[in-house]
Symmetry: D2
Subunit: 336 residues, 4 copies
């Protein structure tokens, strides 16, 4: 069986997660990790037997032994890295969002089309078995024709203000997963968005021109309508649900819990809270995601979550931001 040699750019939380998962896969060799915080990355990487930990991503890009690059560095580095990796003919797994700028994202798009490399964008939730099941209920028409799609997506705790400032805003940082899910689960394009919301969790978020609570109306190309509701802080845990309602029924997913145990006492009947964060909840999905990427490379097929998917999620986020600023519904620009 063919072995795939991988280089990972960025050893932050998500970079480390992908490396840990790749270490479990047979036939995948994580050869090199690059990170500017060299010492800490080395300490972490050597413990896991990674051969090379380097400060500069160029060393990975230039390494002819490396077949595929994982881009897990900050968003503002993505486009340059995609262009460079494509030039070197390397397959690319890139975290979301591709960039904060449609123009730059399209430049990267041109580069990867020319290079004819495999590209997958990190929309891990598509690989979660609950979301996948609801999507199948839409696809196989168990619910008939889709009429209403509802996504609840609430984080367990708000990020730091520092993070918020650099994040690209709620829609680009957090809701982008939901925008992708809306397209994935509906099997249709989002054509128009309208948002209402505010900085209800932390008023200081308003000072950096962002919000933490939102209700976003969606219109789909196939006539269906939808809504996403977001919060940066659900104190009871990571709240991740979806409901697809159609002419023949509805499919909805509940949250996952650590155990199925119910405790009944004189005071209350209680059960476990939702799994606390994305690392627990989407653990299996992250593994399926990279398996799918490597499978696409090995079988020379299209990855399940494409660059085009990344462009569209980014455009919906941009339209939503515009809706927030103009207080009006905004159309989403399509790929021609």
């Amino acid at each position: 069986m063919k072995k795939i040699t991988v280089g990972v750019i960025g050893a932050g939380r998500i970079g480390k997660l992908h490396v840990e998962n790749m270490l479990q896969l047979p036939n995948i060799l994580v050869k090199t990790i690059s990170d500017p915080m060299l010492e800490s990355a080395q300490a972490w990487g050597h413990e896991r037997g990674i051969q090379q930990i380097v400060p500069d991503p160029q060393l990975l890009l230039d390494d002819p032994e490396i077949d595929a690059i994982f881009i897990c560095s900050p968003t503002d580095t993505h486009v340059d890295l995609i262009k460079a990796a494509a030039k070197q003919g390397k397959h690319i797994f890139c975290e979301k969002p591709i960039s904060f700028s449609d123009t730059e994202t399209l430049e990267a798009y041109e580069a990867i089309k020319e290079a004819n490399v495999k590209v997958q964008i990190g929309f891990n939730r598509r690989f979660d078995k609950n979301y996948a099941r609801v999507q199948q209920c839409v696809t196989n028409h168990s619910i008939g024709q889709l009429h209403i799609l509802k996504i609840t997506s609430r984080d367990p705790e708000p990020p730091s203000l520092d993070y918020v400032k650099r994040s690209g805003g709620l829609f680009m940082d957090m809701t982008i997963h939901d925008f992708d899910m809306a397209r994935f689960a509906s099997g249709s394009e989002v054509t128009e968005v309208f948002v209402t919301g505010g900085a209800l969790v932390n008023p200081k978020i308003a000072e950096v021109n962002d919000i933490d609570t939102a209700v976003i109306s969606l219109k789909f190309a196939n006539g269906a309508v939808g809504v996403i509701d977001n919060s940066r802080e659900a104190v009871y845990g990571y709240d991740q649900r979806i409901e697809a309602f159609g002419s023949k029924g509805a499919a909805e997913s509940r949250n996952e819990q650590e155990t199925t145990v119910k405790l009944s006492t004189a005071e209350s009947v209680s059960e476990d809270q939702p799994l606390h964060f994305f690392l627990e909840r989407y653990n299996d999905a992250y593994i399926c995601e990279i398996r799918a990427f490597f499978e696409a490379i090995l079988t020379d097929t299209k990855p399940p979550c494409t660059f085009e998917d990344g462009i569209m999620a980014q455009r919906i986020a941009q339209a939503t931001k515009e809706s927030y600023e103009t207080k009006k519904p905004v159309s989403v620009k399509f790929l021609s």
Copy 2:
């Protein structure tokens, strides 16, 4: 204990329901029912021991023995009947909506203020124990400050096109209950609405200039945001749920079911569908509603669901209709 003598105008589905419920209450005498379909009303009423069944509501309004009037006739008759009943000093229970016209509703409002009679509008869902519990969780701050309010309200089957034509449209006919619930559960005014939707259940509904599927974004005066999703046809039953999400948690209600039985077989694990329609689901709420009305009369206190509540629900419905026509968010006019 004081007896209250009641006259009921309109012996359609909802009029009959109120009469049946009043027949169970001690100290309430249903003396007279008026309905233009005299024969059928007589057959029904005499079987239940109602003394007088008459064609003309004036006979009730003029009867000095009658203390309270239930207005269960078509919406376009409400305003005149309210004015006439108020003039006669009769307490009034009026079905929703008060009217299709803000001007006319305000005329009725003047009349009842002058007459100083008790008026209650038929927003029965406030009296459902599930909705009431969620509302309490907001009021007593079990969920902290309200951030997001979500209402799902879907009928089990669409009305006839004939009904739709006379209904005042989806928002005035069906969503008006949800608009009232949004105000009740949030303890705040709705300040702005935006709707997206279509005639997805039955395209013929578009021909009479109405829709059957909608997602309505809400802004509240207290800063919270919300969403209502509606469908005229949920094939699996009457889908009636609410979720209040706030700074300290979330309270959500599931649908009611006939039994708690779960059947597990080689094919599936299944349970009961939601109770099929409003008569089953809100049976207890309808009884509580009229009990509250009579209680307000007997104790000379304000009924729990006032004329002002009726005005505001109607105005939100009108704003939503305008939003649908203009494809823009629309502000809701407040009572000065």
Copy 3:
């Protein structure tokens, strides 16, 4: 429509409950109530418009206008009252158990067979929609052939020691409902029982030679096996569940709750406890039960819960008591 005139013997908790329910039914007249605590019974009865409240049941038995007798007095009075009522040709609704003695119960049995009156024993749970649904799943073979029947039956709080002393013991007082349910739900006779248990809730119950916690194994004539578990105190509420498991699946009922609301906070995810006691939980079942009795009278058909059912439940209770005393499995005596 024919009117049925009723006399009620015993105005304790269950007697009052039946009277309240009968007052809601058209065509049923509660003419007379007898109770030795005359004053308190009069106060209660007159408030509800009952014509005669008397100290001595003989007055009811002798009244030719009375069609049916409800026997709600202490168990040790049942047999004499049944015999007397049967002699007078009155239909009989008798609370469980019929008596504490098989011989006496059989004497009463002879009396009612001779008199050819309708007799129904008060096994109200048969009329609960959840139990009825599970029973239907057995009857209509949704679960195939029955293999295992499990009944959980736990009271929310233990009775007083005084009550326990007069109660006939756990099996005759409390489990007798479960014994009847075992026969009803299985559609088969219980042939053998074995019990293990103790006075775990309150050791003083052991001093009066009774227990408060039990696990009772059952063998059925149709080959199935079963188990009942009992406790006099489930601190979280009235725990009433059943599960029927068979060759093609399983049907199980959960407890009923006041609302369907789930509250999620930083501390816990909680829902309502089971409905607290039999008055709440079996409210509808008590009404259905007496409706069925009156229906049997009016249509001259067999009541759904017969004297024979009462005998058999009593015999299973007696066998279980013997099993407890001998620490061995004990066969149940059948009706020849």
Copy 4:
């Protein structure tokens, strides 16, 4: 970190499962597998990079490099292998049951006590998070004092008659897990058992003197009572639940499901069946189980599931068999 070298005896379903799991663990080297079906074991083992696949377990037992032995061969080989491994000073992980004979099991017990090696018996369910949570609720008195323990344990499909013949019977083969769970979850010894059951799934099982359906009453040393219900065939999946009821409440676990998705249609409201078999349901528990064994070796502490636990589960199984044969309650022999 110290490396542990392992030899595995028996490459059947459970042996392979343990090997697969060990291959995922760092610092564990599976050096040798022995199996009489050499060719098939070699094909399987070489694919996974196992160095030696041999026909005779003696080669493992004699290998001084091997620290620990996994005994996954048929039950009738266990005792000799345990004695031999103990003699060689090897740590032992042995599948359940230890043997079919109390005398032989005690011989093995002497051997391991003398040799002072670590021994763990394969009661994997103790490591399942749902069972562990319920056990904690007992241990930490969230439910107060334990009064009733209920275990439901039903396989999704019956084994072949050939397997049944060699299995030692339902109690030794299948219920033994539940007997261990009863001791684990209650924190107490089972002192007496009584069983009722039959060959309801497949009458041919009766011909080989076994049953496939059982209800087993339990008495515990701490005064609590309990019940286990078993079936060899739950057509809807692997049904694995537990409920601990006590003076201050109850803790119960539901089955695990593949997804949390609920599908509502005009026909039904359905959800996923229980996970189909032990490989899916106890996947994580099997990994935790061997981790705990290796942890005990590395830290020189007592393994969490001891030889004594194995003896006691076996004795309860033997007592239950005697109860089935004598149709009487039977006391369980304790370790002196």
